[in-house]
Symmetry: C2
Subunit: 469 residues, 2 copies
C-alpha cells in the first residue's frame, strides 16, 4: 500500500565513504543490517517507503553533532527517530539518508523540584519520566497515548488527554538543546518560566517535525501531583448529547483535567480486548484534579450538566487502581480496534475545531463514516475540540484505502470550514501537506519554507516532511 | 542623555518621492509635522534618537500593505507604533524611516463567547477590550500595567500581573494577521485551541518586536470571569520573608492569580501620590480567582504560609471597588516613583529567574542598590520570578546614568548565573542586545539573525532592534 510521495522526493543515499566514516566513529552503534533499517523505516502511519541507508544509535549531543557534520559534508538526509510512534510518516526515509535513533539518550539530566522543572535527554519517554520523578511529588501531564519520547513529542507538538487543563508541548517545553543542520549546537530558552528575550526559538522548534534540527535535550514544566484526583465515566443516549455536555463544561470554565469521548465502536473493541464489560454507548471519560473540595465541586457541576443531556450510569474512581481500569478503555482503544479486523492498517484523522463547532464537525463525520460501510472507531480529546476517526482498511484492497482517504478529506474540509485545523496533535508529516496548504495558505507556507531554507540550506533535516521540500 | 546606538545604525531616510507617494495615498493621515514625528520618536525608555521621517496613521491591514510596498520599493525602514509604552526603545527610528501608527485600528472584529476567543485589530488596548466584552461574562487577563495595545503586547510577548495563573501573550495569542516586509499578508493559527499543523508562526511573531512583520490583527483567548475574586495585601518584616512566602505558594501549586511584591520605596511613592496610607514595609499584593470555596481554600493556604514568615496586617478586598483601591498601589507605582524625583528618567530592569532562585536574585540586588545611593523602587511579578528595579536618574548627570547601568548590568549577570533571563516581559529592544547575546549565546542569536534575513532581506522591519541588524 504505497501512498504517493512528494514530487521532489529524490533519494540522496549515503555514499560508501560516509557509511565507512560512521562505522569508524560509531562501530556497532551504526547498523546497516536490513532488519534494523526496516524497523526504523516505518512508523504507525499506513505509508510504505524504502528504509534508511543506516541507523546510528546516538548516546549524546556530541554523537548527534558528529552525524550531522558527516551529513553536511556528504549532503545526505538525517531523520531523527524516538520510539517510532508517529502516525503521519515522520520517520520514513523518503529521500534516503540516515535514521538517527535517540532512544539510548534516556537519562534525566536535572530534576529541579523547587522550580517545578526537569531536563531530560530526548529519548526519555513520558512514562519513564513519570516513574523516575514519582517521589518528588510532581508529574508531567502530557499524555498522547503512546509512550512516546519527549524529543518526539516536542518535535510534533504533541498533546493528548490532559491538554484541556495543562496545555500541549507548546506550553510545557521551557527550553531545548538542538543540533542544527551544520552541526552547530543551539540552546533555546532559560530555566525561567517566561522570557521576552529574542525570538521564541523554543516554539519554532516545537512542532518542526525534525525539519529544522535534531532535538537532543528538553527542559519541561512539571506540576505538583494534585491533592485529589477523581475519574468518572458516564454514558449518553447519543454522541450529540455527550458533545453538548463537553461544550457546556468548557464554556463554564470548569478546570476539568481530562475529557475524552469514546464511541460505541471503540468501546466494543476494548470490551472484546480487555473484557471491560462497559455499556456500548457514547461514553465520556472525565478526570478532575485539585483539592478535595474543588474536585467535589467540579464533579458536581459536570454531573448536573450531563444529567441535562441524559447522561447516566456515572461510575466514579478515586483510587489509582480504579482509575487505571477506567483509563484502560481509552489507552487501549487504538490497539483494540486494530485487532477487530486482523491484518488491517489504520488511517487516523486528527482534526481540531473551536469548541462551539465540535457538534457540527463530529456528527456529520460520524454520519458519513456510517454511510461508507468502512469499519471505524472514534476517540476524542473533546475538551479541546480535537477528535480522531480511525478508519480500518485492508492493505490488500485499494478501494478501502480510497474510501478512507475520501472520508478523511471530507472531514478535514469540514474542519477547515469550521475554522479548525487539519492536525490537532499528530503533525503534518507526509500525509497532510495538501491540507496544510489549504489551512495556512500559500503565503504562510512560503514563510515556513523560507525559515527552513535559512536554517537548513542543503535540506538535510528530515526532508520531504511538512511541505515536501 | 544619549545611549550608544548599534554600530550598524546607518540612517536610511525616506526620499521625497516616497513621502510624496505616502501623502498621495494617505493625505492628512501621513504627517511630517515635527511635533507628530517627535511624539512617535520616543517611548518610555531613557534613550534618545532622531525622530522618524514621517508618521502614517493606518486604519486597516490594506493600509499597512500599502506602506510596506512603498518601504520595500524605496528600501526604507518601518517602525510599528501602538501607544508608545515600550520601555526598551522599540519605537525609536534609529535607522530613520516611517513610524506606522496603528492606534486607529481599534475595532473588535469578532467576539466568539462560545469559543472563549476574540479577534481584535492591533490597536485595541487591553482596557478597551475588557470594557467592550464586559457583558459577555468573559475577560482578557494579561495586564502589563500600561494600557498597551494588543498588537504591541503581542510584539513584545508581554505579560504582567496575571501571568502566574493565565500565562503570557505566548500562551494567549491563538493567531495573527501579519504584513510581511514585502507587503504579503500572512494569517497564522486557526480558531482551534491547539494545532500541530506546521511551524508555529504565531509564536515566531509573538515577541519578534516588529522585526519580522507588522501585526495587524490578533486572535486571543478569553476566560470566564471568575465566580469569586478576592484580593489581599499583607506586610512582611523583610523582603526575604515576602519572597519566601511567594516561593512556597508557587511550589505548593496554589493557583494564585496574582502575586505582586512592592518594596517600601514603591509604597512610599504611591502613598505620597494617592494618599493610600499603606504601611511602608515589604508588601505582597495577592489575588485569588475561582469558585467561592476554592478562593477561600487558596486564601487560607497562603495566609498560613505568610504567617510562618511573619506576614501580618492582612487586608482583604472582595468587591471590585475595594480591589481597585488595593491595586492602585501596584498600577501607580511607576508614575508615582517618577514624581518623587522631578525631571528624572527611569532605568527599568526586567530580569526573571527560576522561582527557587528568586531570593538570591532579589536580595543581593536590593543590597547593591541601597549601597549605590541612587533612588530606586522595586516591584515584581514575583509569582513568576520576575521583578523590576526602577533606578531614578537625573538626565543632566551622566554619573547617575552610569551608576544605573552598572547596577542593571550586575543584576542581569546575576540573573543569568541563576539560570534566568535578561527580559521577563519588556523585550530586548535597543538596550539589552549585549545581554541577549550572553543569555542565548552566539549560535542561538545567529539562528535568529538567519530567520530575520530570510523574512526581511532588506532589513526594513524595525531595524536595529533585538540584535542590531
Amino acid at each position: 500500500m504505497n501512498a504517493p510521495l512528494p514530487a521532489s522526493a529524490l533519494p540522496r543515499n549515503a555514499p560508501p565513504e560516509m557509511l565507512a566514516a560512521l562505522k569508524a566513529r560509531f562501530a556497532e552503534r551504526c547498523s546497516t543490517a536490513m532488519a534494523v533499517r526496516e524497523q526504523h523505516g516505518r512508523d504507525e502511519s499506513p505509508i510504505d517507503a524504502p528504509p534508511p541507508d543506516a541507523v546510528v544509535f546516538c548516546e549524546s549531543t556530541d554523537d548527534v553533532v558528529a552525524v550531522m557534520q558527516l551529513a553536511d559534508r556528504y549532503a545526505v538526509p538525517v531523520i531523527p527517530f524516538g520510539v517510532g510512534s508517529s502516525l503521519e510518516g515522520h520517520l520514513l526515509a523518503v529521500q534516503g539518508g540516515i535514521s538517527l535513533d535517540l532512544s539510548r539518550m534516556n537519562r534525566l539530566l536535572e530534576v529541579r523540584p523547587d522550580d517545578l522543572i526537569v531536563t531530560v535527554q530526548a529519548g526519555v519517554t513520558r512514562l519513564q519520566l513519570n516513574r523516575e520523578i514519582k517521589d518528588s511529588g510532581l508529574f508531567f501531564p502530557i499524555d498522547p497515548g503512546a509512550d512516546a519520547t519527549l524529543g518526539g513529542m516536542s518535535a510534533t507538538r504533541a498533546s493528548g488527554t490532559n491538554a484541556v487543563r495543562y496545555g500541549t508541548m507548546r506550553e510545557n517545553v521551557l527550553g531545548l538543546t538542538v543540533v542544527m543542520a551544520d552541526g552547530t549546537v543551539v540552546r533555546t530558552g532559560t530555566r525561567a518560566r517566561k522570557s521576552s528575550a529574542g525570538y521564541d526559538l523554543t516554539r519554532l522548534m516545537v512542532g518542526s517535525e525534525g525539519t529544522l534540527g535534531v532535538i537532543t535535550e528538553v527542559t519541561l514544566r512539571l506540576y505538583p501531583l494534585p491533592e485529589a484526583v477523581s475519574a468518572a465515566v458516564c454514558f449518553f443516549p447519543s454522541i450529540a448529547a455527550a458533545v453538548q455536555t463537553t461544550i457546556q463544561t468548557i464554556q463554564m470554565g470548569v478546570p476539568i483535567a481530562r475529557c475524552e469521548l469514546l464511541d460505541p465502536n471503540a468501546i466494543r473493541a476494548v470490551n472484546a480486548h480487555d473484557r471491560l464489560g462497559l455499556r456500548e454507548a457514547p461514553m465520556l471519560l472525565m478526570e478532575f484534579h485539585g483539592s478535595p473540595a474543588s474536585v467535589a465541586e467540579q464533579a458536581a457541576t459536570v454531573q448536573e450538566i450531563a444529567a441535562e443531556h441524559g447522561g447516566e450510569d456515572f461510575e466514579w474512581a478515586t483510587t489509582p487502581e480504579e482509575r487505571t481500569r477506567l483509563w484502560t478503555a481509552r489507552h487501549h482503544a487504538y490497539l483494540s480496534a486494530l485487532q477487530t479486523k486482523p491484518g488491517c492498517r489504520c488511517v487516523t484523522t486528527d482534526t481540531c475545531v473551536p469548541i462551539s463547532r465540535l457538534a457540527d464537525a463530529l456528527l456529520e463525520t460520524v454520519e458519513e463514516a456510517d454511510a461508507s460501510g468502512l469499519p471505524y472507531f472514534l476517540v476524542g480529546h473533546v475538551g479541546d475540540g480535537n477528535f480522531h476517526m480511525g478508519y480500518l482498511v485492508d492493505p490488500a484492497l485499494p478501494e478501502e484505502r480510497a474510501t478512507a482517504e475520501r472520508l478523511s478529506e471530507q472531514l478535514v474540509q469540514r474542519a477547515l470550514r469550521l475554522d479548525g485545523t487539519c492536525s490537532g496533535e499528530h503533525g503534518v508529516g507526509l500525509h497532510k501537506q495538501g491540507f496544510l496548504m489549504e489551512e495556512a495558505g500559500e503565503a504562510a507556507v512560503e514563510v515556513m519554507r523560507r525559515v527552513k531554507r535559512a536554517l537548513d540550506p542543503k535540506n538535510l533535516m528530515n526532508p520531504g516532511k511538512i511541505f515536501g521540500m
